[in-house]
Structure formats: structure tokens, C-alpha cells
């Protein structure tokens, strides 16, 4: 997943993901694999008004973004979708930094280089 937007006024994952999607990803990186129902139960603690539909839509949106993948699991209780992470949080953060720095180097090469050198010192 390549982030296309970086919100300077947001903290953490919210800078690159919408707030609820960021919260879901925080949880998914913790548990690695979960059903939408399990994520819903977790999200409901903080957002009591949240509905199953919201979680399902957001998780499928995260699949479209390439951060989660969906597979069918057949077991006790029948068939169901399970979602798993496609990348670790560290890898994701690394990719964000690389993407942003590449963009800065492409657009403001000298200033970026000068600033990075200054930080390095």
C-alpha cells in the first residue's frame, strides 16, 4: 500500500489513513488475524453507536488499499470471512517515510538534502 496523502495536522496513522480505518489497523496489527465480527466487538467498546455494516465496509476498504486480505474460512459455525494483515506496522511506517522522502527529493531536492544533512549532524 502506497500512501497518497499525508495530513500534517494529524497524529500517527491518522496522518495517512481515515480515523476509523487507522483504529481498525491498530487492532489488526495487534491480533494479526480476525473476523469482522471480532473487530466490531472491539470497536464497539470505544464507539457504542457503531454498526456491523460500518466495520465490514471499512475492512473491505482496507482490503482494497492492500493493508488487509480477506479469505474464506470453513470450520465450526460454517463459512466466514477472516481478515489478515498483509504487512507489519514497521514495514508500513517504513514505506510511508520512503514515499514521503522520495516525493520531497523529487520536488525539493536541495532543501530536503540540506535539511536531512542538518538533522544527521
Amino acid at each position: 500500500m502506497e500512501p497518497h496523502e499525508f495530513k500534517l495536522n494529524e497524529e500517527g496513522l491518522r496522518a495517512v489513513l481515515p480515523p476509523l480505518e487507522a483504529e481498525i489497523m491498530e487492532y489488526m496489527w495487534k491480533v494479526k488475524i480476525a473476523t469482522a465480527g471480532e473487530v466490531y466487538e472491539h470497536m464497539k467498546e470505544k464507539h457504542p453507536e457503531m454498526r456491523r455494516s460500518t466495520v465490514s465496509i471499512l475492512m473491505n476498504r482496507l482490503c482494497e488499499r492492500g493493508l488487509l486480505k480477506r479469505s474464506v474460512e470453513t470450520g465450526r459455525g460454517g463459512m466466514r470471512y477472516v481478515y489478515s494483515i498483509t504487512t507489519t506496522r514497521e514495514e508500513f511506517e517504513k514505506r510511508i517515510v520512503e514515499t514521503i522522502l522520495n516525493a520531497l527529493m523529487n520536488n525539493f531536492k536541495e532543501a530536503t538534502f540540506a535539511y536531512l544533512s542538518k538533522i544527521k549532524k
Partner: protein
């Protein structure tokens, strides 16, 4: 009404095209019949898994109980690998998408299944394909008359009949949806579960459209959304169905109090 329209179209075709009209009528009917048979044989894909009792006993038993109450045999139940909530029926089969199981609870899923059993019970799974292919039949005959017959009245009458068929078809399909809901209310132990399922599905659809349309900085679950309405819809809106269900349930409760 639909039968009369088709009959009138056939009569016009035979009247103006004579023996060739008969060939056109039987030729197009046979072609559509073959198409229908081919489609029905290939309607199940790899994404469909047949539901066995041990997969989900609560669902299998629930459907069996409602089918028994409806006086029909146990339908085949297929689970479709699709994350978007969806349900439909054909022949003696019900298809429920996996997405339904993510957004609805058990009672609500049984509510959706009851609606599909309603379609089977009311004969819609046989009537709907005929209506759908009848549309192509009408269009084909109207096209043949427009191209071959050089009589303005015949062409206008044929095109008019085709348009009338379209209007009646939409009206008919909507009525059948309401009828399937009515049957479902009779079949369900808890009729409100169908209403709740429709509310959730409406919420899902609205939200999905909004999520796609926006960059989604935040979701307001209680936001009031306007439903788009098109005169070409074959299904009544969720709101229309919910209102009718409420009226049915309240009417039944009122009748019970009078007893």
C-alpha cells in the same frame, strides 16, 4: 396483463408478417428458451458452496422450518463468496452471500431467507425468468415489425406494446417483492427481524455509496440519507418495504387484539 400484451404483440406480428410472422414468433421463442436453459444450467459458479446441515445447523433448520410452514420442499441453499450482502433465489434454490453474515445477526439472516422462500412459495422463481425473457421477446418482435413492416400504425402499436410491457413488468416485479415480504412475515417466528434486516441493508448500501464517493475522513452512523429513486427500478426501495412491513405487522397485531 403482461400475458395480454405479449399476445397482442404476437397477433400484430402474425397479422402483418403472415407466415413469416409465425417463423419470427416461434424462432425467437425457441432461441430464448435455449438461452434460458443454458443460463439456468450455468447459473451456479465456483463461488457458490452448497450448504449442508453441519455447516450451519441454525440456518439449515431455520430454512427447513420455514419451508415446511410454506408448504414447499426444503430448498437448496448456497453460500456465495461475495463480501457485499446479497440474497436471491432461483428454481428451488436460495443464495446467500457471505457478506450478509458479516452485517446481519442470525435472526435477520433468517428474515432475508424467509423473503427468498416467499419468492419460491409464490412461484416467482419460475415467473421472473419468463418475464425477463418476455422482455427480449417483445423487443425482438417490435424490432422485426419496425424493420420489415412499412405500416406506421403497426410499428407504433408494436413499439407502444413493448413500452407498455416494460411499465407493467416493473409494476409487477415490485408487487411480487411486496408479496414475498408478506409471505416472509407469515413464515417468521419474529416478523420484525425482516424489517431490521432491511434497515441494516439500507444503512450498508447508503454507507458504501458514501464511502466510495468520499475520501472518508469520518463516518456519521446516524446521518440521514436520501434514497435515490428511479422509475426504472424493479425493486421497491427499502423504505417502501419497511413501511409496508410495519403496516402489515401492526395490522396483524390490531386484528389479534380484536379477537
Amino acid at each position: 396483463m403482461l400475458r395480454l400484451i405479449i399476445l397482442a404483440q404476437i397477433l400484430i406480428t402474425i397479422l402483418y408478417l403472415g407466415k413469416f410472422g409465425l417463423v419470427v414468433v416461434f424462432g425467437s421463442a425457441s432461441m430464448l428458451l435455449l438461452m434460458y436453459l443454458w443460463v439456468t444450467r450455468h447459473s451456479l459458479k465456483r463461488e457458490h458452496s452448497k450448504l449442508e446441515w453441519e455447516d450451519m445447523p441454525w440456518l439449515y433448520d431455520g430454512i427447513a422450518r420455514m419451508a415446511n410452514k410454506a408448504g414447499i420442499g426444503m430448498p437448496y441453499v448456497y453460500i456465495l463468496d461475495d463480501y457485499i450482502p446479497n440474497a436471491y433465489s432461483f428454481g428451488n434454490s436460495i443464495v446467500l452471500s457471505l457478506g450478509l453474515f458479516e452485517v446481519l445477526d442470525r435472526e435477520q439472516i433468517l428474515g432475508v431467507a424467509a423473503h427468498e422462500i416467499g419468492h419460491i412459495k409464490n412461484g416467482d422463481t419460475l415467473i421472473f425468468p419468463i418475464i425477463a425473457y418476455g422482455r427480449y421477446f417483445m423487443l425482438f418482435l417490435a424490432g422485426a415489425i419496425s424493420l420489415i413492416v412499412h405500416n406506421t400504425i403497426a410499428v407504433l402499436a408494436s413499439l407502444g406494446l413493448y413500452m407498455l410491457y416494460e411499465i407493467e413488468r416493473l409494476k409487477f416485479l415490485k408487487e411480487r417483492e411486496f408479496k414475498a415480504d408478506e409471505t416472509a412475515l407469515y413464515l417468521l417466528d419474529r416478523p420484525f427481524s425482516l424489517k431490521e434486516a432491511l434497515e441494516e441493508l439500507k444503512y450498508y448500501e447508503d454507507l458504501r455509496v458514501n464511502v466510495r464517493a468520499s475520501a472518508l475522513p469520518g463516518i456519521e452512523p446516524n446521518i440521514e440519507r436520501k434514497q435515490k429513486k428511479s422509475f426504472m427500478d424493479t425493486h421497491p426501495s427499502y423504505d417502501e418495504r419497511i413501511w409496508r412491513i410495519l403496516a402489515e405487522i401492526e395490522g396483524a397485531m390490531f386484528r389479534d387484539t380484536l379477537k
